[in-house]
């Protein structure tokens, strides 16, 4: 599904260039649960931005389901983002003056779904993430864990091909983190591809495949076989 071939990414800094990713090759099949691990500044966030269609500025080729992502116009790139990926951020990124339901329904709004259908779908997804009857609550009245559930609901509401999570437990305590990871696992078991970035071993160990990244290069890429829960 995801096929990155020799992806390089560098930022301009003054007169010089600062390279973040070196020759990254990565393939992710549908249904996988991948954890990308690395210390701060290793380039893992940059990589996930590219995979999650947030960043189009890179060298190399990214083919997603036979679509050459780097060739897309900005508009088509946005459309692909809308339809094919769900993004979960470390600090939730909810619109604070809109209620939970509207936050979750946002991707469907941009996909042009009818208001009534959005409402129905949003309630269903809120059930799925364990937030039944929260449609009209405001994000600021929810706990961190609940806010992240809202963000996850928003990420999966449009039934994307895969889910990308950038440090989804970074702002949560360990108990809540466990619940969120559990939720990701459930989603994965129901067939959703999940790619998450973390620097937390415990979180990474829950995935089925672990990619370690350091200084912009992939160090290791291995299956995880432990099945402890």
């Amino acid at each position: 599904m995801i096929n990155l071939t020799s992806v390089n990414k560098s930022y301009r800094q003054g007169n010089g260039k600062y390279q973040v990713l070196y020759d990254v090759n990565l393939k992710v099949k549908s249904g996988e649960f991948v954890a990308i691990m690395g210390p701060s500044g290793s380039g893992k966030s940059t990589l996930i931005d590219i995979i999650g269609f947030l960043d189009q500025n890179f060298e190399g080729s990214y083919i997603f389901n036979e679509t050459v992502v780097s060739d897309l116009s900005r508009r088509d790139h946005a459309k692909l983002r809308n339809r094919s990926v769900g993004f979960v951020f470390q600090n939730f990124k909810l619109i604070n003056n809109q209620n939970v339901g509207e936050n979750v329904g946002l991707p469907l709004l941009y996909a042009g779904v009818k208001r009534h259908d959005i409402h129905v779908r949003v309630n269903k997804v809120l059930d799925q993430v364990g937030l039944t009857d929260s449609y009209y609550k405001m994000p600021k009245n929810l706990s961190g864990g609940q806010q992240q559930r809202v963000a996850i609901a928003r990420a999966i509401v449009a039934k994307p091909s895969f889910l990308v999570a950038d440090e989804p437990t970074g702002a949560l305590d360990s108990e809540t983190s466990k619940e969120i990871i559990k939720l990701f696992k459930e989603l994965n078991q129901n067939g959703t591809t999940v790619i998450l970035v973390t620097h937390d071993e415990k979180v990474a160990s829950q995935a089925r495949r672990l990619i370690k990244i350091l200084d912009g290069r992939i160090q290791s890429d291995e299956e995880i076989t432990n099945e402890d829960l």
Binding site: D49, L54, D55, R74, R75, A78, K79, R81, N82, R83, F87, F89, K93, L94, I95, N97, Q98, L106, P107, L109, Y110, A111, G112, K114, R115, R154, A158
Partner: protein, 397 residues
């Protein structure tokens, strides 16, 4: 994304900053209200002026055709320029409601005369009352003269001199007016005038003058038209007809005072003044527009996170651009409509203290609608562009 949703979300974010939105709107409201008030009052003045120039006191549209006799030394008599046939002809025009022959006589007519064998053209004041004004020699026309139908006349100093060398000699001498002899009772100043604008040099009793075969010439025709007729055009056509087929077309010419040109001039002047004042009032609209721009820039920078989130879930640049643009337009359009209504209200209130009515035309509505939309577009596009051009990665980090 549906356009309807764009409007909903724009309204919500304006509502979220009620105070700021209303204050920004206030600028537009004041600007549009000022422009609409001035325009409606200006239109009111213009229409009122046109009406009063075009219609008589009863509000009817009318015009007047005059006949002027060509100079003809052989025929000394005044002739009537119009007769019944002329009226019939004029009434064939379907726009004419009423045609009436009238005399241009306002107490003074001109008539040929002879004094001591010399021809004179006298401007004759036909008096119905005793007259002693401007007298320099002899006596005036007395009550008895009027009662007894005495053929007496007062003549001016210069006519007296022409006939009898000195005013004194002229007293009790004779003058022939319209073929009838009068006794010169007195001599008046050359500067004698009636109501300060009509000079005259002969005064005779009206009754005697009329009884002796003199005719007050009917030299004008008053036409009354149906409402809404182009008076100037119709009258011109009638005058042309009269000049071809009128009863006296051989002896003179028919013409009329074309009010059209005067009306147009007056109307243009009022319009120009109105537009000038509107132009000044529009400065406030410009300032209000800058206020909108300012608010939109603040809004964009405050909502950077929101823009990032929207883009991250798949909003295109276009959709972000339109979201902010529509916010700006809703702001100015709502302001414009409120301003339009307050402008009308204001104009009505003001005109209730003035002798004319404010006139609200549909075009002023379109103007308010169009102007406020355009202000929203012009002053909203730059902030909206700023919003849509933000770098997604930079916002989200």
């Amino acid at each position: 994304m549906r356009i309807y949703e764009l409007f909903v979300s724009a309204l919500r974010s304006l509502w979220a900053n009620k105070r700021r939105s209303i204050l920004t709107m206030l600028g537009i409201i004041i600007g549009i209200a000022a422009v609409i008030t001035i325009l409606s009052l200006g239109d009111g003045v213009r229409i009122e002026t046109l009406k009063s120039l075009q219609a008589d006191s009863s509000g009817q549209q009318s015009s007047e055709i005059n006949f002027s006799k060509a100079y003809n030394p052989d025929s000394s008599n005044e002739i009537s320029g119009f007769n019944d046939n002329d009226i019939k002809m004029v009434q064939n025009n379907s726009k004419v409601v009423k045609a009436k022959i009238q005399s241009g006589y306002k107490g003074i007519i001109s008539g040929p005369g002879k004094i001591n064998g010399k021809n004179v053209m006298g401007i004759i004041y036909l008096t119905t009352k005793p007259n002693h004004e401007y007298l320099i020699a002899g006596r005036g026309i007395s009550k008895n003269d009027l009662l007894n139908n005495n053929p007496v006349a007062l003549i001016s100093k210069s006519i007296a001199k022409k006939g009898y060398v000195s005013p004194k000699n002229a007293i009790n001498a004779g003058i022939e007016l319209n073929g009838v002899s009068y006794t010169i009772a007195g001599v008046i100043e050359d500067e004698a005038e009636l109501k300060e604008y009509q000079n005259y040099d002969v005064v005779v009793p009206k009754k005697f003058y009329m009884n002796n075969g003199a005719d007050i010439p009917h030299d004008s025709m008053k036409l009354t038209f149906v409402k809404g007729a182009d008076v100037s055009k119709e009258t011109r056509a009638i005058v042309q007809d009269l000049n071809k087929k009128g009863s006296q077309h051989g002896n003179g010419s028919y013409d009329f005072m074309d009010m059209g040109d005067i009306l147009k001039g007056a109307s243009d002047t009022i319009k120009a003044v109105t537009y000038f004042v509107v132009a000044i009032a529009s400065i406030s609209l410009f300032i209000a527009g800058i206020g909108v721009m300012n608010m939109m820039y603040i809004s964009v920078s405050e909502r950077t996170q929101e823009i990032g989130i929207r883009m991250a879930v798949g909003a295109t640049q276009h959709q972000i651009l339109w979201q902010f643009l529509i916010e700006a337009i809703i702001l100015t359009l709502t302001g414009g409509m409120i301003g339009y209504l307050s402008g009308i209200g204001l104009a009505k209130i003001i005109s209730s203290f003035l002798p004319f009515k404010a006139i609200v035309t549909f075009s002023t509505f379109l103007l308010a609608f169009g102007t406020s939309t355009i202000i929203g577009l012009i002053f909203g596009i730059l902030p909206a562009k700023t919003a849509s051009n933000k770098n997604l990665i930079e916002i989200l980090r």
